[in-house]
């Protein structure tokens, strides 16, 4: 079952997508008051949506819709069929709640199992899940996936870093699932404990997600922590982790298209873009029962690619997430993604992958300050070497972002570390 869904042909995927889309639209119209109203307001009938290309007629669903219909106004099933509810952090207003039926949980487990299998994980592996467990979907999602395929799971969750490292060593962890920033922190902490992960641990794969990360972070993680680092994509509105995963070719993340229809749109106009164009990813969950979403705006920026992949899977790929429309910083009118800065920084010797962006305003002008941590391996007695490093970083960042920024060098281990999502942006502008 699992293998057959990974190896669907392009033709089978498209057929399954259209088939499931028609069923979903009908069901949403019949069972979800929210979507019935949406369709009626836009004068669309379920029969108007026959295939993926008709989707453009359907209005977008946005995060505010989930908040406005808090807590369970978006259900497309009887409340009694719900077996699980997760909620996102509600720092502003209501949290967003997502609800699952029993079938949804099973489908979610299977999707995560597919992801792990794509990373070469088998039932013989020991999988340490160091994503948060609880309302956040990361921990449980990977946990279900690993268990589904019969692997040995260590539900470590986040925090207690010393114990995490001890467990890895003593229980022979072969696969680590966590955020890339926590992975960097684990690698660093292991070193401090006198453990060289590459020599003393057996981590053949790392499944890193929940925040965007760069190729150069991959290089660091593969040199210092795991044999092979894979990017996994998901968000709680779309089940959680397990929406897309990198294969061994590591040239984009395969989206499980029998479960998700992906469109790329221009975030400003809402217009659907061609494959290969950069824009916001919009997802329709064609296999979700409890709380399906039609054309959900993920706010993640990427590029869709349906060219055949070296790995042989026909599921289309999205590029590593380039940034988020809401993480996107507008500085002097220019869109800046932290990932662009990370890419520049991590290609440099002498600095660590830890950084912090501080944006403030001087008079009418935005100022971007990038605090970069110097590496303990940076060795020089000459000020000119450091000034030179700073200048080169500033030049290259200007080149990458098309705006100038000042680079401030910090001492080793002086920038904040985080055990969850990295707090890398400080916006001091009063708008």
């Amino acid at each position: 079952m699992m293998r057959s869904m990974r190896s669907l042909s392009r033709h089978e995927i498209v057929k399954l997508q259209d088939d499931r889309l028609r069923k979903l639209v009908k069901r949403a119209y019949e069972s979800s008051p929210f979507y019935r109203k949406r369709f009626d307001d836009s004068k669309i009938k379920p029969e108007d949506i026959r295939s993926k290309k008709d989707l453009a007629k359907v209005p977008f669903t946005i995060k505010e819709d989930l908040r406005d219909n808090y807590p369970l106004g978006m259900l497309a099933v009887e409340r009694s069929k719900i077996v699980r509810m997760h909620a996102s952090s509600g720092t502003t207003g209501n949290p967003t709640v997502v609800a699952y039926t029993k079938k949804d949980i099973e489908a979610w487990a299977e999707l995560n199992a597919r992801c792990l299998e794509t990373c070469g994980v088998s039932s013989n592996d020991v999988v340490q899940v160091s994503y948060g467990y609880g309302l956040f979907t990361g921990g449980l999602g990977l946990h279900y996936g690993a268990e589904y395929m019969g692997a040995k799971v260590i539900p470590a969750s986040t925090g207690n870093t010393k114990r995490q490292i001890k467990l890895m060593k003593d229980l022979g962890t072969t696969v680590i699932c966590c955020t890339p920033s926590y992975a960097l922190f684990l690698a660093e902490s292991a070193k401090e404990e006198g453990i060289d992960p590459k020599r003393h641990l057996k981590l053949k794969a790392g499944v890193f997600g929940a925040e965007p990360w760069s190729e150069t972070t991959r290089k660091v993680l593969e040199e210092t922590f795991v044999e092979s680092a894979y990017d996994i994509y998901g968000m709680s509105e779309l089940n959680g982790p397990g929406v897309a995963i990198e294969c061994k070719a590591k040239d984009g993340l395969h989206v499980w298209e029998d479960n998700y229809i992906v469109e790329i749109i221009d975030p400003n106009t809402g217009e659907v873009l061609e494959n290969g164009e950069k824009g916001e990813m919009v997802v329709t969950t064609i296999n979700k029962e409890g709380m399906p979403l039609l054309r959900y705006r993920t706010r993640d920026i990427t590029i869709l690619n349906d060219d055949p992949c070296d790995c042989g899977m026909a599921h289309s790929r999205i590029k590593k997430i380039l940034g988020r429309t809401d993480d996107m910083l507008k500085i002097r009118g220019i869109c800046v993604f932290p990932s662009q800065i990370e890419e520049v920084l991590s290609s440099y010797e002498g600095v660590t992958p830890f950084y912090q962006l501080v944006v403030d305003r001087e008079g009418p002008l935005d100022r971007l300050l990038i605090r970069v941590e110097i590496s303990e391996d940076f060795k020089s007695d000459r000020l000119t070497d450091i000034v030179d490093l700073q200048k080169r970083l500033e030049d290259e960042i200007k080149e990458a972002l098309s705006i100038s920024a000042s680079v401030e060098l910090a001492e080793p281990k002086k920038l904040p570390r985080s055990e969850g999502k990295a707090q890398r942006v400080v916006d001091l502008r009063k708008i």
Binding site: D377, D381, L383, V387, Q390, L409, E411, P412
Partner: protein, 125 residues
């Protein structure tokens, strides 16, 4: 004796924290100079226990390195600069040391040592 070069942010308390690390480990500062550029700088210093200092600074996560320098007598300075100039040895930087001494970092230490000893100028380290 070699010179420690330590990267520090240029803000209140950073030098104090370095001195604190040294003090806690019973390490004495024999000479010190600071070069700054904007928000950071390099502290160059001679410490009386190289091995212990290295461990202490590493444990404190400081970015540092060691270079060879010349410790000379301040009273010889006229002759020193003249001889080095005559032999095209560049002085990168210098700072004074307690007891009438001066620390020189040059671009070619072997040549500098040879030139100074040929001319009977004492190198103290």
């Amino acid at each position: 004796m070699r010179q420690f070069s330590i990267f520090l942010e240029n803000k209140p308390g950073r030098l104090a924290s370095l001195i604190d690390v040294l003090a806690k480990n019973g390490i004495n500062v024999l000479a010190m100079g600071i070069a700054e550029a904007g928000n950071y700088g390099i502290v160059r210093c001679l410490l009386d226990n190289e091995e212990r200092a290295m461990t202490a600074l590493k444990d404190a996560n400081m970015a540092m390195n060691l270079v060879d320098v010349l410790i000379l007598e301040l009273k010889d300075i006229k002759a020193i600069v003249k001889k080095l100039e005559a032999n095209a040895v560049n002085i990168d930087y210098a700072y004074t040391m307690d007891g009438g001494k001066i620390v020189f970092k040059v671009n070619d230490i072997d040549k500098a040592k040879a030139v100074l000893s040929e001319n009977g100028i004492k190198v103290l380290n």
